[in-house]
């Protein structure tokens, strides 16, 4: 079709379809968002920081949503309006310092705003934990989670990987360390409502990621490192803990259970745990 | 590395032609018109510098890992095989002889060019031999790649440097066959200069590696 300009009919159809598709993207994008928001969206937030993260997410969504619609509408209008009609020439127009400066500075201003907001929330998430926070250790392995509460003395005993045995000592506690005696190792994670919790995240083998969607919490469990994060659950109930970093064949079954309950219920549960 | 002959084209021109506009050319033909190419630098020289840049990044990656790793605590340093002092000296001298070769190429004294290139090649081989002796000395005292992190990096860095130096010896041999036979001074220099650039770089790189492995 080296024919230039193309036949009139072909041009008209091309123009119509091109415009239509861009319009469809806008309608499809916005429409699918409206449908998804009710059915396929984030779990209801259940932590203090989660509220801030959601707010930042929503702000970003509004800003990007506006830009998405705006640029696509402009694109549709241009495609419709400036299709080749076989007559006349395009404008010989290729530089406009003012225009270019405007659309460099506006995104820059938007970005600076978003960066500042993001920095504030990020600083909150990683602020020093409150002194009354409880402590628990979460250790990932192929393919499951194990938790350790320090017990009465509040001290975690030494770990010796050589002592790890699936049946008797899955955590690898070193009995030579007196602090190990009071440590309590569990398969489920129980947390106290409205009480900040510091989670020390470790791994036995490869990299895992400690991910509780309802709390908007995610932190890689890197072998050889202990990374600590903290958060405050705000709603009682059962939650799911998932692994978010590819860790091998059973990555998808590495599910953990999390229960948020009152201090009393928590104390009762902890007392029942053997060891 | 930089063949100037292009058998596929079979044209009376080399692909470098535009890099060397004949005479002045219509430089002032119109507004903004002029010869685009800044010229006396041959593609091979630019290529040599780009190669140096890529290898610098490679070693920056190795050594930044080394520096991070070294601060991680457990760090039993392995002993310094004494032969490394000798190899370092040899490599430094080879840089001088390489420079002599490059100057000889510039002056157009072919016999001298051939002699200095030959000496540099021999010194390069001596250096590589010395590095192998250092490996043997370490291995004899029970230090292998997996022994500890320092030994792992020692073998890795000296090995990677040695491979690049072996490539340099290949380039020297190529220069030895091509440069003294070149028709003009400029052509001889076009061969010798990139090789010299690469060789001096390997020399500097070795000093840096030697320094971070044992000095600081």
């Amino acid at each position: 079709m080296a024919e230039i300009p193309a036949p009139a009919r072909e041009r008209r159809v091309g123009r119509l379809l091109a415009t239509l598709i861009v319009v469809l993207i806008v309608i499809g994008g916005v429409g699918s968002f409206l449908i998804a928001r009710g059915r396929w969206w984030m779990l209801p937030v259940a932590s203090v920081h989660g509220v801030e993260i959601d707010r930042l997410f929503n702000t970003t969504l509004v800003v990007t949503g506006i830009v998405f619609v705006l640029i696509h509408v402009v694109l549709a209008v241009f495609v419709w309006r400036y299709a080749d009609r076989g007559t006349g020439r395009a404008a010989y127009w290729h530089d406009d310092r003012t225009l270019e400066l405007t659309y460099t500075l506006i995104p820059a201003a938007v970005m600076i705003t978003l960066v500042s907001m993001g920095a504030v929330v990020w600083a909150q998430v990683h602020s020093p934990p409150p002194p009354d926070a409880m402590v628990v250790e979460a250790r990932g392995e192929q393919f499951g989670w194990l938790f350790r509460y320090p017990g009465k003395d509040g001290v975690f005993g030494r770990i010796d990987p050589a002592r790890i045995s699936v049946k008797d000592n899955p955590m690898g506690l070193d009995p030579a360390d007196p602090a190990s005696k009071s440590n309590i190792v569990t398969r489920d994670l129980h947390l106290v409502l409205a009480r900040p919790v510091r989670v020390r995240i470790r791994s036995k083998d490869v990299i895992h990621s400690f991910y509780i969607p309802a709390f908007r919490v995610k932190q890689d469990a890197v072998p050889g490192m202990t990374v600590e994060i903290w958060f405050t659950p705000t709603r009682e109930g059962d939650y799911e803990l998932a692994c978010a970093q590819l860790c091998g064949v059973g990555h998808y079954i590495m599910r953990g259970k999390v229960k948020v309950e009152s201090q009393d219920a928590f104390d009762t549960w902890l007392a029942q745990q053997s060891h | 590395m930089a063949p100037t002959t292009t058998p596929t084209l079979e044209l009376p021109r080399t692909p470098r032609e535009p890099g060397r506009p004949a005479g002045g050319g219509p430089r002032g033909g119109g507004p903004g018109d002029g010869s685009a190419v800044p010229s006396s630098v041959s593609p091979a020289r630019i290529g040599a510098w780009l190669l140096v840049a890529a290898i610098t990044v490679l070693f920056a990656a190795f050594t930044s890992t080394y520096l991070v790793r070294r601060n991680a605590g457990d760090w039993p340093a392995v002993f310094l095989p004494p032969v490394l002092w000798l190899t370092t000296a040899v490599l430094l001298i080879s840089s001088l002889t390489m420079e002599a070769a490059r100057r000889a190429a510039g002056r157009g004294t072919r016999a001298s060019l051939r002699r200095w290139l030959g000496i540099t090649t021999v010194l390069g081989l001596v250096f590589l031999g010395g590095q192998l002796v250092a490996w043997r000395q370490l291995a004899a005292s029970g230090v292998f790649m997996a022994t500890n992190p320092h030994s792992a990096f020692f073998y890795l860095l000296t090995g990677a440097h040695g491979l690049h130096l072996a490539g340099g010896i290949g380039a020297l041999i190529f220069a030895l066959t091509k440069a003294p036979a070149a028709p003009t001074h400029a052509a001889a220099l076009d061969v010798a200069d990139p090789v010299a650039t690469y060789w001096h770089f390997l020399d500097g790189l070795w000093l840096y590696l030697f320094l971070i492995l044992y000095g600081i």
Binding site: A90, H126, M225, A244 | T6, T8, S35, V37, L156
Partner: protein, 605 residues
């Protein structure tokens, strides 16, 4: 090959093998890169279909599939989890390194650089041939991993150790992982030879009058991309070598002390897995731009040529290319916000990451501005270029979520990320590739592609991509982690099933639509309408050579350049295009466009 009969007398002295197989001609090498990449795209695409089969209908018995991939399915035809991970890993690796990088940089770079700068070939033709001929061995080694014990690697294209370092950690972490590393190392050497060649060629072999400020944007993009490749790939090479030593020589660069894998305590001491991530992403992020800069250049050319209008803001386009390239080296940490890296470092990476959005936004606005008061011809190439702008915009906007570490904490490693990069990098780059093929096909093969089929291909692909990847954002927002064999273990993911089915169906449609392209490509190669030398009435130098150009590209005389490449619709000129070779005496340089529009560019040579 179709070009055989088009060549001139000059190359008849060479044997067929030297001319078309071990050729040193940049055009043949470019076409070899392209053809091999398209072949690899078929494999990578098939793997994507397998991924969607599993995601849409986990646990289903696929009777036929088990005959096609005997090792990957159980006796009843259920896809095995380790095979699923192998497929995911190989899909990513193939598409990123073996399709998009090779096609866009190796293919278009090789074909177009000498032609657009008025050179007869690359600066180092032999090195160029070597660059291509390292590619087939690399892909053979990569594909061989499917057939060794344990199968292809399971660790993802990012190959994070210890999973990738310890053979006992996953079936694919055996020989398959070593082959992957070796293959990537070979390919990196090929890329380095290529990029060294491109940079030297652009700096040294420009024809008379072709100032850097008169380079077409495609050539600028290839030039900057080559610099990125030269400075980024050696880092991955270093990392791959160290990982190979960890796997085979017992060293501990990346493997820490005290790992217990498969019930056994490992002897490795004191390595650090995060070091790999730093090295990998120091390459990995520039690599993303290696994929997207050439399409940016391609799209800039197409919008100008098929819009019959000068590209808007040439100087800003060049500057933003440079800015993106520079910033791309400073943003790698945004892949590691939740890795355990110091949170303060995370803040720094957030700043650089969102900063890179600014030059990207400038480019997008410039493309849109180019369309203002244009005379748009809806050719297939143009449609793909407009589609690129839409996809790049959508993907760029979702990147803003991920660049903010607090939001990324939630979205990291979910399907939202998968959706994001499939828009901004994969689909956008693919659209650049398609647009480029429709645009330059006549120059490459001397024949036109079928426009009607091209447009149908565009519609189906464009709709298919939005239908596949847009809903994937919601799957991610709902929290489904990527690389899950099946989400069925989790209550909170159960409701996503219909969405996953929809995405899979859309993906199959998208996959099928590519058959139209394959047919059009092959058919046009042999039966396409003969192309004239300048079918689109374009200005750049490659269109002033015959289609396809003979060996040596130009006749006895090299072209001389008198103006920038975007003199379209110049008022008062006889035609609506003024080739770069038109002397200023014939058509005066309008509005100062012939002078350096980007004289202030930092890259100005």
């Amino acid at each position: 090959m179709a070009v055989a009969h088009e060549t001139t007398h000059e190359d008849h002295k060479l044997s067929w093998i030297r001319r078309y197989v071990f050729s040193q001609d940049h055009k043949i090498i470019g076409i070899q890169y392209l053809m091999t990449s398209l072949f690899m795209a078929l494999i990578g695409g098939t793997l994507a279909m397998l991924i969607r089969m599993q995601q849409g209908w986990p646990g289903t018995q696929w009777g036929v599939a088990k005959f096609l991939f005997p090792g990957g399915f159980t006796g009843d035809g259920v896809l095995k989890p380790d095979f699923y991970l192998a497929v995911v890993t190989m899909h990513g690796t193939i598409m990123i390194f073996f399709v998009l990088t090779t096609a866009l940089s190796g293919g278009f770079g090789n074909f177009l650089i000498p032609l657009t700068i008025g050179a007869r070939d690359m600066a180092f033709p032999f090195l160029n041939m070597l660059s291509y001929w390292l590619y087939p061995p690399a892909l053979v080694v990569l594909l061989a991993s499917f057939f060794v014990a344990g199968g292809a690697p399971n660790a993802g294209w990012t190959s994070y150790p210890p999973l990738s370092a310890v053979p006992a950690a996953a079936p694919g972490s055996g020989l398959g992982q070593s082959l992957w590393l070796i293959s990537i190392a070979i390919l990196i050497v090929a890329f380095l030879f290529g990029s060294l060649n491109y940079i030297t060629t652009v700096l040294q072999l420009r024809t008379r009058g072709l100032l850097m400020t008169r380079l077409p944007l495609i050539t600028w993009a290839q030039f900057i991309t080559a610099i990125l490749m030269l400075l980024a790939f050696p880092v991955l090479l270093a990392a791959a070598v160290m990982l190979l030593f960890d796997r085979h020589a017992g060293t501990s660069f990346f493997v820490p002390t005290g790992l217990v894998v498969g019930g056994r305590l490992l002897t490795h001491q004191g390595g650090n897995p995060l070091l790999w991530q730093h090295l990998f992403w120091f390459l990995g992020h520039p690599e993303v731009y290696v994929l997207i800069l050439p399409p940016m250049g391609i799209v800039s050319e197409i919008l100008a040529v098929h819009g019959r209008k000068p590209i808007f803001g040439y100087g800003a386009m060049v500057l933003s290319l440079c800015a993106i390239a520079f910033l791309s080296f400073l943003v790698w940490g945004h892949h590691m916000f939740v890795s355990g890296m110091n949170p303060l470092v995370g803040s720094a990476f957030m700043v650089t990451t969102l900063a890179i959005a600014i030059p990207s936004a400038v480019k997008t606005f410039n493309w849109v501005a180019t369309l203002w008061r244009a005379r748009i011809r809806f050719t297939s190439a143009m449609l793909f270029a407009i589609g690129f702008v839409s996809l790049f915009l959508t993907g760029g906007l979702t990147g803003i979520f991920l660049g903010s570490p607090a939001v990324d904490t939630y979205l990291h490693d979910t399907f939202f990320v998968v959706a994001h990069f499939h828009f901004v990098m994969a689909s956008a780059a693919l659209f650049g590739l398609f647009g480029g093929l429709y645009h330059w096909f006549p120059k490459m093969f001397g024949r036109m592609m079928n426009e009607r089929l091209g447009r149908i291909h565009f519609w189906l692909t464009f709709v298919g991509i939005y239908a596949t990847f847009f809903p994937m954002h919601f799957i991610g927002i709902a929290g489904e982690p990527r690389r899950y064999y099946s989400p069925q273990m989790y209550e909170f993911l159960r409701g996503l099933h219909p969405l996953n089915v929809f995405v899979s169906l859309a993906a199959f449609g998208l996959g099928l639509a590519q058959i139209i392209f394959v047919y059009n490509f092959l058919h046009s190669l042999f039966r396409g309408q003969k192309a004239e030398s300048n079918p689109w009435h374009a200005n750049t130098l490659e269109w002033q050579a015959p289609s396809p150009p003979p060996h040596g590209n130009w006749g006895a005389e090299l072209p001389t350049v008198h103006r920038w490449p975007y003199d379209y619709s110049v008022p008062g000129a006889p035609d609506d295009f003024v080739p770069q070779t038109t002397p200023v005496t014939a058509v005066p340089v309008a509005g100062g466009a012939g002078d350096d529009p980007a004289g202030d560019s930092p890259e100005h040579a």
